[in-house]
Amino acid sequence: MDLCQLITTNSEIDNNQALITGVGQEKIAIPVPSIITIENINPSDISLVDSSDVIYLRGHVIPLLYLDKFFGIESDKKDNENITAVICKHNDSHIGLVVDTLFGQEDIESKPLGVLSNNRFFSGASILSDDLAMIIDVPALIA
C-alpha cells in the first residue's frame, strides 16, 4: 500500500514539475518534461541565420527566443553578458528560451486563466508561495 502510494505520488510530481524562471519582474514556469538542458551561452557563440539568433549545440541549430522581447516585458539585461537559455524540445523541433534568472524546480498546479484562457502561449498560471507564475505552452512557442 505504502509503496503504491509512493509510486503514484512520484509520477504525479514528474508531470507537474516546472522550472521557475524570471524574466524582468515576471515569473515564467517552463514544464520540465519539455526541457532538454539549460545552457549558459557566451554572446560570441550566437550566430545569425535569416537575421535571427541561433546557437549550434550538439549537432543541432537551435533558434533563440528572447522571452523579454517576445512578451514585451521590461528587462534590465545588458548586452554582451552571457545569456541563460532553457533548451526545449517538442516533436523534433528545438527552441532556446532566453530568460534572465533561474529560480529552480517546483511542483506546480496549473490553474485556468478564466476569460483569458484563449491565450495561445500560456496553458495556465501557478500560485507560488508569494507570487504567480505564468505557465508557458512550449508546443505553441515552437509552432
Binding site: 512578451f71 516585458i73 478564466g114 476569460v115 491565450n119 500560485i127
Partner: protein, 154 residues
C-alpha cells in the same frame, strides 16, 4: 405579516441595488447581483499577449482572476493607482470571475428601475458599455451592462 412580505417583493421588483464607483470623476453603477467582492489593489501579474485592456491576473484565495482596466476598456487614460483604487470582482458567464479596476467605491444605492433612462441614440455607440443613466440628487450615474464588458475585445 403577509402584507409586509408582499410589499417587500413589490419594492424589490421596482428597485435594484447598485455599487457606485467613480472612474475619471464620473459615477458608474454596477448591479450588485453581479458583484462578488470588492478588494484593495493586490499585486497584479501581467499576462503577455493578452488583450490590451487586461492588466493581468491576481490570486484571489487560490483562484486565478483576470483583471481588466475599465479605463483602458473605455479608451480613457490609463489608471493612476491611489489608496482609493479598488478592484470589483464580478461574477460573469455562470462560474467565471473577472476583476475590474475602479478609482474608488463610494456606496451602494437603490435606484428605481423606472427612473433609469436609456442613453440617447446619439450617445449610444455600438461598443458602449452603458445600459442606462440613473440619477441620485444632482449626480448622474451610468449603469454598466456587465455582459457587454467582455464583448468586442481585441
Amino acid at each position: 405579516m403577509s402584507d409586509l412580505a408582499i410589499r417587500e417583493m413589490n419594492s424589490a421588483a421596482e428597485e435594484k441595488q447598485y455599487v457606485i464607483c467613480n472612474i475619471n470623476k464620473e459615477y458608474y453603477g454596477i448591479d450588485i447581483t453581479h458583484v462578488n467582492n470588492i478588494i484593495q489593489m493586490p499585486k497584479i501579474t501581467m499576462v503577455p499577449k493578452a488583450p490590451e485592456c487586461f492588466k493581468g491576473i491576481i490570486n484571489l484565495r487560490g483562484e486565478i482572476v483576470p483583471i481588466m482596466s475599465l479605463r483602458r476598456r473605455m479608451n480613457l487614460e490609463d489608471d493612476t493607482l491611489t489608496k482609493d483604487s479598488r478592484i470589483v470582482i464580478l461574477n460573469i458567464n455562470d462560474d467565471e470571475m473577472i476583476g475590474v479596476v475602479v478609482d474608488g467605491v463610494k456606496e451602494v444605492l437603490s435606484i428605481p428601475t423606472d427612473t433609469i433612462e436609456t442613453p440617447a441614440d446619439l450617445l449610444k455607440s455600438e461598443d458602449s458599455l452603458i445600459r442606462g443613466i440613473g440619477k441620485k440628487n444632482e449626480d448622474l450615474i451610468s449603469i454598466f451592462e456587465i455582459d457587454s464588458i467582455l464583448k468586442n475585445i481585441a
